[in-house]
């Protein structure tokens, strides 16, 4: 079933470039797009095209999330690749409680945290609440606008949950239910984290 849907979808999209947003192919009807769950099932049945579609669908959104969460620009692509590699290796552990995307983001966030621990271990900061280096990377930030850079600097100063809830909501457009499933928190707590994050970022960005 999933393979059939994937085949139809592949034919429909032949020759089309993939969109880069988290929700690509808005022009196509939702019924024609195989869900992430269907793609995962197809890949687990041996259809590698399904994995390619999953990567295409989520890679850029994942990269933007990792960048917003503090990954150095030079490491973003490597982190995306490593995230998908680990996700595909551990597909049997994804049971659909959280969306595939939020599960993927969780893996990516943990990898970014590990990267920071390895490369910035000498900086004494709480991994839980302030796990980002205090200095920015001027060379890597060359492409960011001034406002974007200020936002990234502000995000660095937020506690981890406030930062992640804000990114999942404001950058990725996730609903609170999806955010809760991704971060293992409650909708009420997620709302509080989000509002604290917005308040503090507005203050910091003047």
């Amino acid at each position: 079933m999933a393979a059939v849907a994937l085949g139809i979808w592949s034919q429909l999209n032949a020759g089309l470039a993939f969109a880069s947003s988290a929700r690509p192919m808005h022009a196509l009807s939702d019924e024609l797009l195989p869900s992430d769950a269907a793609l995962v099932a197809a890949y687990r049945s041996g259809d590698e095209r399904a994995a390619t579609v999953l990567v295409t669908r989520h890679a850029r959104a994942l990269g933007r999330y990792l960048y917003g969460a503090g990954a150095p620009p030079a490491s973003v692509e490597d982190l995306i690749q490593e995230t998908f590699f680990r996700a595909f290796r551990a597909l049997q552990t994804w049971r659909g409680e959280a969306s595939f995307r939020s599960w993927l983001f969780r893996i990516g966030a943990n990898l970014r945290k590990d990267l920071y621990r390895r490369e910035g271990g000498r900086i004494v900061l709480s991994i839980e609440d302030a796990d980002l280096p205090a200095t920015s990377d001027p060379e890597g930030e060359a492409g960011a606008s001034e406002m974007e850079q200020r936002l990234r600097d502000g995000l660095r100063q937020l506690p981890r949950l406030q930062r992640e809830v804000f990114l999942l909501r404001a950058q990725q457009g996730m609903e609170y239910e999806e955010i809760c499933a991704a971060l293992g928190t409650t909708p009420g707590a997620a709302r509080v984290h989000y509002h604290h994050a917005v308040k503090r970022l507005k203050e910091m960005m003047g």
Binding site: F18, S20, E48, A51, T52, V55, T56, A59, R60, G63, R64, Y65, L66, Y67, G68, P73, V76, E77, I80, Q81, F84, F85, F88, R89, G143, A144, S145, M147, E148, L151, R152, F166, L167, A170, Q171, G173, V198, L201, K202, M205, G206
Partner: protein, 138 residues
Amino acid sequence: MTEEELLRVAARLGEHAVEHIDETKLAKAVLARVTTEPVIAARPLHRRLWVLGLAAAATVLLVVKLSLPGAGKAAGAAEASSPTVTVLHELDDLTVPELESVLESLPPPAAVTAHPESPSLDGLDSKSLEQLLRSLEG
């Protein structure tokens, strides 16, 4: 800055960081790794817990055994008693003069040397000598 402006900036955050990414190439690289890199089998959780519990139990046992009063003495006594038994078995085949020479080769115990009027061993039979040896060797 208003909330709307903040959200507008947030929605675009990181676009430049991913604009160069070729998803098709990325997918190929990921799939190649999944196919070629060996899976490192992690030990099941229950097995790891079992090993951890076993190690903890062994540690506790060792600590308790070493911290018991007299544990060292008991071990020492056991070591001391074993050679005594062996020596006495070897003495079984010795004649009286041989036993006397063995006895003379042993350092005199403090209790014997302290007694100025210790009786001669000449009048003792083999059974008495053996009893004396036993008493000397504790």
